[in-house]
Symmetry: D3
Subunit: 246 residues, 6 copies
Amino acid sequence: MSAVRRWDELTRTELADLAPDALLVVPVGSTEQHGPHLATGTDALLAGEVARRGAEAASQPETILLAPTVAYGASDHHLPFGGTLSLRAETFQRVLADLLASAAAAGCRRAFLLNGHGGNTAACAVAVAEASREHGLLCASAIYSQLLEPGSVAAPVPGHAGLFETSLVLAVAPERVRLDRARPSPGGAARKRLRGLSVAEPGRWQELDGFTDDPSAASAELGAELLETCARAAAAAFEEVAALHV
Amino acid sequence: MSAVRRWDELTRTELADLAPDALLVVPVGSTEQHGPHLATGTDALLAGEVARRGAEAASQPETILLAPTVAYGASDHHLPFGGTLSLRAETFQRVLADLLASAAAAGCRRAFLLNGHGGNTAACAVAVAEASREHGLLCASAIYSQLLEPGSVAAPVPGHAGLFETSLVLAVAPERVRLDRARPSPGGAARKRLRGLSVAEPGRWQELDGFTDDPSAASAELGAELLETCARAAAAAFEEVAALHV
Amino acid sequence: MSAVRRWDELTRTELADLAPDALLVVPVGSTEQHGPHLATGTDALLAGEVARRGAEAASQPETILLAPTVAYGASDHHLPFGGTLSLRAETFQRVLADLLASAAAAGCRRAFLLNGHGGNTAACAVAVAEASREHGLLCASAIYSQLLEPGSVAAPVPGHAGLFETSLVLAVAPERVRLDRARPSPGGAARKRLRGLSVAEPGRWQELDGFTDDPSAASAELGAELLETCARAAAAAFEEVAALHV
Amino acid sequence: MSAVRRWDELTRTELADLAPDALLVVPVGSTEQHGPHLATGTDALLAGEVARRGAEAASQPETILLAPTVAYGASDHHLPFGGTLSLRAETFQRVLADLLASAAAAGCRRAFLLNGHGGNTAACAVAVAEASREHGLLCASAIYSQLLEPGSVAAPVPGHAGLFETSLVLAVAPERVRLDRARPSPGGAARKRLRGLSVAEPGRWQELDGFTDDPSAASAELGAELLETCARAAAAAFEEVAALHV
Amino acid sequence: MSAVRRWDELTRTELADLAPDALLVVPVGSTEQHGPHLATGTDALLAGEVARRGAEAASQPETILLAPTVAYGASDHHLPFGGTLSLRAETFQRVLADLLASAAAAGCRRAFLLNGHGGNTAACAVAVAEASREHGLLCASAIYSQLLEPGSVAAPVPGHAGLFETSLVLAVAPERVRLDRARPSPGGAARKRLRGLSVAEPGRWQELDGFTDDPSAASAELGAELLETCARAAAAAFEEVAALHV
Amino acid sequence: MSAVRRWDELTRTELADLAPDALLVVPVGSTEQHGPHLATGTDALLAGEVARRGAEAASQPETILLAPTVAYGASDHHLPFGGTLSLRAETFQRVLADLLASAAAAGCRRAFLLNGHGGNTAACAVAVAEASREHGLLCASAIYSQLLEPGSVAAPVPGHAGLFETSLVLAVAPERVRLDRARPSPGGAARKRLRGLSVAEPGRWQELDGFTDDPSAASAELGAELLETCARAAAAAFEEVAALHV
């Protein structure tokens, strides 16, 4: 049985005791198209799974409070593909900000948004900055896959619904993968950009048919290995934030 | 194995096929204090459970698409008790409106917000009206416990964290109940109001210590019976909405 | 001469004296199409009229402060018919919330939104909850026609611009009725829904041609009787809220 | 009987006929403190009265549609005095913008906001510009008292609850004046500013005790004369806007 | 060397010393089409130039803090002409309100928005009122050209991209004028309106081809004279506000 | 004379010709405290300077349109230090989004936000994504100092008001530096975080006294070298975005 505590399984009394010295971890996902081969709940599933495993792998799992996964994210750019239930950027930003504000009201002093969807990144940054400034909450955020050291795993740079995510889902919930529908993205390789430069290209997701690289070589074995690496990286990040003075 | 389909387990391709003729059911909960004896995730847990069982009990379960539960609701009135992760009323309203708008964009023509938290009611009404008016979505909402005929169950009028909800959680996830902490609410019986009159009394939740009636007599047996009745009522409501012409 | 006091006829000095022990009653209406036979100002007219008569009929009319009627409501669903001056749902909600916040700032401790338009209901609920929570205002709301006991009047369930409202206007301001234009709604009888279920059907108002049931049998006599019953029901509701401890 | 038509007394059918060739006049007021001697409903009363009389005095009164008075305005600066029911600036701006947008949707092509409260001016300007730009509505606004030529009336420059407004209310609704409470404003004469310069001084309304100049010399006779002059000025403004090509 | 201090050239330490006794002057411009003959940056250029010269001409220039010019304003009505970078009315209003709020937080007690664009006026008024009411800031605003006495300059009433502005730019930055492209506006003379009446006519800017009167007679000599007059008027306005008690 | 064109120096006619094939570069700065030794306008100054030099250094400078610098940014976290004129995060986000929307309306197809302030990053990301999705604008953003390759310059990682920025300002506008007030930040070295992890620590800027590392060794020579490197990096980024297909 896990030492990690889930917020929604505890009473207000227990949470009042735990909150001040705990690290609140909020998995943040999305419900959006992931190509023709992967289920739409991928990001929420994986953010929750990495958060739980990372918390269990941390040195003091009993000091981590795991909040319910935020299942819907900022996915308006995927609406044209169908299968997507999305919050507008402004709404989603307020969701995260409100959650962190109420976490502070509930006595929390440290919070961590563990994010599984690139489109959520700016909202996480805004919410974290606001919670720190307005509510005195020590606040961190990360996309779980970007906690990995480059070259540390036998997979290309994590994209969207590519080899990386497809393998992870095969390891966690294989019934959510239609591997026979997987094929290379028609949009070509991810474009290398100059360091520090980010570009939003209209129509790029359409060129890619909504997913990156080549998911067809995905395997549960690779997924298990990636999952383990991600969980260790998340654990290290949780430990780093838990150790900060508040 | 259930015939009910979960949105997050399907691909965009499958959803594009199913959406036009399906009823999208979105369970809507909250993460908020439920007295000293009941876990904070009660409303999200029960809305999701009744939605799933109701969908399975419906006459054509294969036409129901079950969306991920909205785990956070409008619970600002419970913030003073701690243990509460809440969205402001305005934020929460936008969450529901955005989800219904993207459901319409994904090809859905019928949607149902199955709500487990009284504080969410107005936001559900606003979102449903907007989605119908702006996006042509046939849209319904209900608090699952208010679908019951009065007198049809051996429990007092469903309140908050009282005998009704505590029994339900004992039936579904008993590890979330601290029955030894349950006692009658110090705030007295629910106040009878004139028909059609609703009143918001400042400080009333404090008088009640955050829960209604007397959860101490809750039992898993009663919960199982209530759950069955709720699921049947939800199934009937789903069938009614699924049968409407669009 | 009435003992009821109108806010807009009093000075700030008088209001400062009266506000703490008074019940502020705010009639809330709309300006929207009411079929081919009834004037667009119906809801504001009737909410104001029932509020005034209810206040006069209450046991302590001198403790009631009657605010100016909110003449414009949330009527976007009637825009396609013409004749409608509407506030968006979000705007209207802020109107009510701002009014209640300033009522609290003016020293009021009890307020009652007496609503005459179904489309305003959710906004009333949100505003009342916010005012109670944020400003400590004891706050109530009701649609005046829903305060009636079913079967207590010789008219069908109150709808929109049907027999009920048309009769009321005949009794109050007959020059606002074109009885020769009244005919049964082409959309058929109001649909019976399962208890607790609310449904927003796109196009339903168009099917009904913008009004319910059959206004053609309306009469001033019936209207006078309904008005008396509504006023008594409003008086009882005012008394109940005025008696609550603050 | 007046040839002026009131929007709220007409049906959607009649309004659909009239709207395209009519000038919609919306009186815009406030409900706010007017010193110890004048009722809080002064601005709404006078805006409505001048609008009605101006419409009747216009050369083609039958082409004017008089909307219900907007009874609540942007009065947050008067909240500290009590007696004030105010909309925040942002809310009030949306109210006017929404009304003009729905007027355009109802077939109107010309609209006029006749304003009785200085604090509403900026919101009127924003709403008028938006309605013209976004909805193609020919749109005008004016504070009724600023339509007067300087020196054309035997009263000081119109202020707030001073000689000008107090006299007008004595002429229109004398029961709303407590002349025995009227005295000169303790804040001294209105400050002359450089042409084109507007200044908001914190605490200035407090220095003035919430009203300008000296209302104690107000009379119904002066009020009747002012009212006549204002109505003629409003009539001229309505005619000018009605004559513009759309 | 000027005695006027620029906010952006000073450190926080210096500003903390200066702010309480200084008048903060914020030039407010726009970046919008100015006909075929004048550069789009005209309003920002001129507001900044008049502000600087006005500050230098004031009796105590060392007490004036000149903020960076707000280069983008509310110009949505000019979007159809191209060349326009505009903020929506609501955004722009928040920009000014936020700047004044932070000026108050930085210790300022007096602020002046010197505006160069008519379309910014309402937003200036709202921001100034809010800053005075919410933050206790003594706050003024003016369009610089409206500080002039009528008849005091040898040019028609200042319009948009007409003789007045074109001459000013010829004096300040002649490389921004294409005098060979200047011609009379095809829309005819500015329409005289009744005193106190403002009208927004859809399509009027198109009739005018986006500029008023006749810029073709503009000259650097006239511009230099206008500039001097505007600067003296601004200086007088700054002195008046600087002398007010806070 | 530079081949780079400034938007505000051109007419609408010229911009209509240039916009479709140009890259619009918008320098984005802030006006905020930069320690006791550096002027508050640093970020706006440097973003504008690097943008201009980068544009001039690009291979086709004549295809670059330089917009006026956005002088005010999201600096609420610096308000406690004084000297800061800030936009709230939500306002600032709307500013950038509105500017990009109107750039698209003005015929631009490519835009680049060259940012000089870390606190602006999330707003840039949101605006860029929205403009790409909603308006079909190819859109890029970068913090200019993060375009540098690590180790490519003889200065520590660029911070806030440290050696890097202080040297740059010494090279560009030495009158804005008080080198005698420069000293090492009392808050110690920048904290190394795990890769991919971002943390907002309440009170951290106070510990640092509002600036990073040690500005006391800054020099104009180093600044000139850094400026040259930054300009080359910006030029490369501009070229990359200008070459993308639209």
